[in-house]
Symmetry: C2
Subunit: 405 residues, 2 copies
């Protein structure tokens, strides 16, 4: 087995740490932000650009790749990394989130606020994804065709895609599900986790000539401390077919204002020796909360998605570089940034590209945003090593939240 996690430094609060995840395709120094390449491409960029800016790994989506081009095609191509020309470590998520949020058409329930939505998710018309004990039946967001994911199918799909780190198939709930439903769902996710371990073990043995894939269990439980802790204890000690999870994903609906608290709950229950990935988190404030409370890796579409709308990060907050104020601003997005975009291009040029609807606009903004977030988490790592995490956090967020752009 060529998967390993080594803690290199522990923070003073007993939760935060630095470490190194070893994978068959190279190491990941943690904490680390992992850029998302949903469909086997970090949108609008060359892999070389993503690698040059310091990203150590990328995360793709089993759901999307299952639908197009098909996981078998990626298998025949020699696996995800070879298919997309990314020689470093790769992740795929299980599709659990996507079959529910995209396939079900209830993404809005996760994104929006309002009590009235509580009803809609329980009505069968809205729930285009049907959950049963065996798995989830869902409709493709591409063409409406019917598909079924089970823990076993998710494992098979992720083995065909061949990423270094894969995730167990879980049921996604929302903050609008009541506690009773959350409890039932959490139990189902626990039973699915056992089935994932069994199928993962079978596939690992069947395809033993392939590089080892590490399986992370996924913790749900919404904003309930007892459920989150139970999930962490259950999956943290789980063993089946003689194997355990190699690490853990913290997933599901999380109130942003309680992010650090919720991560802390599960971290205190999880085995210290295994890496923890915080799914779908990538805003600066949230990353500080996650690292401080013991998460090791992170992924999020925000830096890439925002970039395509011309929203760029700076140490003085986020701003839209397509705005009129930047037409003749010949300074870089951020004076202190060392990324390819900031070293070679002005805000005025990016403004021109976005106003001209030129593809290079999203490309350069994505390089900057991903660089900014990857670099921010790398700086948290250094700050932890130097015992200066709190000072760094206060200093960065103080200036960032002033939004003096």
């Amino acid at each position: 087995m060529s998967f390993n996690f080594k803690i290199t430094h522990k923070g003073e609060n007993g939760r935060a740490r630095t470490g190194v995840i070893e994978t068959p395709h190279g190491p990941i120094q943690t904490p680390a932000f992992i850029p998302v390449g949903t469909k086997a491409t970090v949108k609008s960029t060359l892999p070389d650009s993503i690698s040059s800016l310091g990203a150590q790994a990328v995360l793709a989506n089993a759901y999307h790749l299952y639908l197009q081009p098909g996981s078998q095609t990626i298998d025949e191509a020699g696996g995800l990394g070879k298919f997309m020309n990314w020689p470093g470590p790769t992740f795929t998520d299980s599709g659990g989130f996507q079959v529910m949020s995209l396939g079900a058409g209830f993404k809005k329930v996760i994104d929006m606020q309002g009590d009235s939505l509580e009803e809609s998710i329980t009505s069968s018309k809205e729930r285009l994804a049907e959950v049963d004990e065996e798995g989830v039946t869902f409709k493709s967001h591409l063409d409406g065709s019917s598909h079924r994911f089970t823990p076993e199918i998710s494992m098979q799909v992720q083995h065909e895609i061949g990423a270094d780190i894969i995730f167990a198939f879980d049921e996604l709930t929302t903050l609008y599900h009541d506690k009773r439903y959350q409890e039932d769902s959490l139990e189902r996710t626990r039973r699915w986790a056992l089935r994932c371990l069994d199928e993962h073990d079978r596939l690992t043995k069947e395809r033993k000539e392939r590089p080892y894939q590490a399986l992370f269990g996924v913790l749900q439980g919404a904003h309930y401390e007892d459920l989150r802790k139970k999930a962490a204890r259950d999956l943290g000690t789980m063993s089946s077919s003689g194997i355990e999870f190699d690490g853990f994903g913290i997933g599901g609906a999380i109130e942003k204002s309680r992010l650090g608290e919720i991560v802390g709950w599960v971290v205190d229950e999880l085995p210290e020796s295994k890496p923890r990935h915080l799914l779908g988190i990538g805003e600066p404030t949230d990353l500080f909360e996650g690292v401080e409370n013991g998460a090791d890796t992170f992924d999020c579409v925000a830096p890439t998605r925002e970039a395509r709308t011309s929203a760029v990060y700076s140490t003085s907050g986020r701003f839209n570089v397509s705005g009129g104020a930047y037409r003749k601003d010949f300074s870089p997005i951020d004076d202190s940034c060392q990324c390819y975009t900031c070293k070679n291009y002005s805000r005025a040029y990016l403004n021109h590209l976005f106003r001209s609807k030129e593809i290079l606009g999203p490309t350069l903004a994505t390089i900057h945003n991903v660089s900014f977030i990857v670099d921010l988490v790398a700086k948290m790592r250094s700050a932890l090593h130097n015992g200066e995490f709190t000072e760094f956090k206060d200093s960065f967020l103080g200036k960032y939240n002033e939004r003096k752009v």
Copy 2:
């Protein structure tokens, strides 16, 4: 003055040659294909990708940059090369083609076939661009606002943009204009050429701290041998304010089947010592005709525009890589191609990107297409040097036109 053209080898037919154009931003080994970056970006690519594939210069459009972001903004940014992060040589065309073809809404007249169109271009309703002795009044294709270009304004705009090689402002005619109109238009373009020389000289002296910009006269005359030769003689010997043209552009409506013939007419009349740029030509067959008949540089949107629709060049002809046949084709676009795309990606991956509408599809296809065309013209250069041009032409086009993809 840091502009110079040196012929390094002459072909056996007395027309074709190899050479080196020296500019303030470096040399261009000719014959050479110059990729088009209309709005100060070669669409969907990083400048580094374009430079790495062997392109020696890029060509932008004065008309587009005048409208957005404005030529003054580019001047304030330090000129086109600095603005777009292209340290090598740059060209801009004069806007003569665009004010007529885009501003006038008669692009269709150039592109389409059919006698009925002859009427429409003479009707005032269709002619949103009005030509008079002083210049052209046209409407922006972006917002319909009214603008006016004269030879003087075109020179001022191109001096603000600051490319190394700029073109005189000419009137574009089409194959549907009668000979009488072509004669009148050619005389007007001759008078405008004189005004361009005068204004160029004035601006060169006024802005003498800037790198020298070379001015190329533009030859019109459609498919009339007497008019084409007259244009070449007129502009080839023209002098005003004590200066001459540094080179020549061959422009206007050209029947593709007579391309080599038409280029030959003007080449025989032009001074041998000055470079000749064939405007808007970039298909393999046309490039062979152009080089064989004495053109030194070429630009065309075809390689980049085709790439964005998934049409890619190969030594066995052009094909659409998004086609069903390539879903599981793990070979590169072209086995013999050494470009970044062919070295690192399969047809299956490009197929997936185009089917997923991922921006990286156009990016990788553009890198390949531009590389293919730049490389093809570089190979013509070697073949000329080695006295093997005809053999290379026959061998390449024989296979290319078989279209066994």
